[in-house]
Symmetry: C2
Subunit: 219 residues, 2 copies
DNA sequence: TCAAAAGTGTTCGTTATACACCCATGT
DNA sequence: ACATGGGTGTATAACGAACACTTTTGA
């Protein structure tokens, strides 16, 4: 089957930057490409948009196909369309991003992906296409969104915490997302002022040091 | 000549929201479509991206072809790709926006455009495709960008002022761009703090009322 | 003298930032 | 006793928002 047009058409893809926190560090979900170009290179997941699906829907589908990850709320980052960004043909990509919990997530590489793995944002491999640029843009946007206001993005930060958590644990999560250390007292003021924390009147135990108070959060 | 692909490809367009101030009100540059679909409807200028040009370059080219407007710095707004947004075939558009002075600008409708005119943002005609949505997004972004920091977008606001201007004139420009009235004293504090105003030690004359001090701005 | 626009400061609330010491526990 | 992380308050600066009266001119 082939498709013919009177004028040349670019291909359009969606690429998705999926961030998570694992082992206390910010990770991004990458796939290893199974096919050329950039065969065997790592890349952010993505693929061609179908003719009858919305951009965000196509992005979600490609994400699930290549990595097994589904049900994440994607936010559009923008379009990337340098003429030579794909050596095959003209490909314009629309980039999306999301922040998700990943503890119970099972990665399942399929379709164009030989493998799907979480990479530490500080130890990225060489990336296919212009994905390093896209990912850098996404990283910057993530840091902006997490602490400024009580947005959906900020809410999702709490997914990296157990239901009962200490303030030190919460601080570590926000530091990881923001990419810089935060002042302990200022952080505690901020979280108390901006979120509905419930003091559970419980303390951690078994630690080597002073027990910490446990909290939960109501949205 | 025709172009054949193994898989279906969408068409990709760039659409451009060009804002200006004319007669003291915020205007947007629209074209009247010469061809179907939406023949005779008004639309924001735009058209198909060529295979070897960058998105922003294509947007600038389409803008010039259809309206005669050139040399404007475009900022990407995002991609719009609902499957049915174009009745002909699947068309994904990348929207751009800019704020430009228009006093000496000569509009020259050509190519797909029967006409090119400035429309008052408060009196828009029915627009083709999903252009009403795109334009509303652009309008919101414009208001955000103009007053918050000393950005390029904010700089361009001064292009709507004569070289020697009064603070009341400047306030009127910023109010138009922001879409809401500003407090006189707060505005004067803000403009003095954020811009390098030069007090020209001159006053307006010929007005019916108290003369106003004239300023110019250095960047 | 009146109408109309020009000009001018202070207060308050919120937010971000900086910063140092004592406390409770396990070893 | 000591090492380790838990826990706490105050001061300052910057910013945005609210707000009313006097001055100067032409008609």
């Amino acid at each position: 089957m082939s498709y013919t047009y009177e004028y040349p058409h670019p291909a359009v893809t969606a690429d998705i930057c999926i961030f998570s926190i694992r082992e206390g560090t910010l990770k991004v979900l990458l796939i290893q490409r199974l096919i050329d170009p950039f065969k065997d290179s790592w890349a952010i997941p993505g693929g061609f948009i179908k003719m009858d699906e919305d951009l965000a829907v196509g992005a979600a589908r490609e994400l699930e196909e290549e990595t097994g990850v589904s049900g994440v709320p994607l936010e559009q980052l923008g379009a990337y369309g340098a003429p030579d960004r794909d050596p095959r043909e003209r490909v314009i990509t629309v980039a999306f991003m999301a922040l998700v919990p990943s503890d119970q997530m099972v990665l399942a590489a399929a379709t164009d992906a030989a493998d799907a793995q979480w990479f530490d944002m500080d130890e990225l491999p060489a990336l296919a296409f212009d994905h390093a640029t896209i990912l850098a843009d996404a990283r910057a946007r993530l840091a902006d969104k997490v602490t400024n206001r009580v947005t959906e993005t900020a809410k999702s930060a709490f997914q990296f915490l157990p239901q009962k958590f200490t303030l030190a644990q919460a601080q570590a999560v926000f530091e990881t997302l923001k990419g810089e250390p935060l002042d302990k007292r200022n952080f505690r003021k901020w979280i108390a002022a901006n979120w509905d924390l419930v003091d559970l009147k419980e303390k951690t135990s078994g630690g080597r040091h002073r027990p910490a108070a446990l909290y939960s959060v109501d949205f």
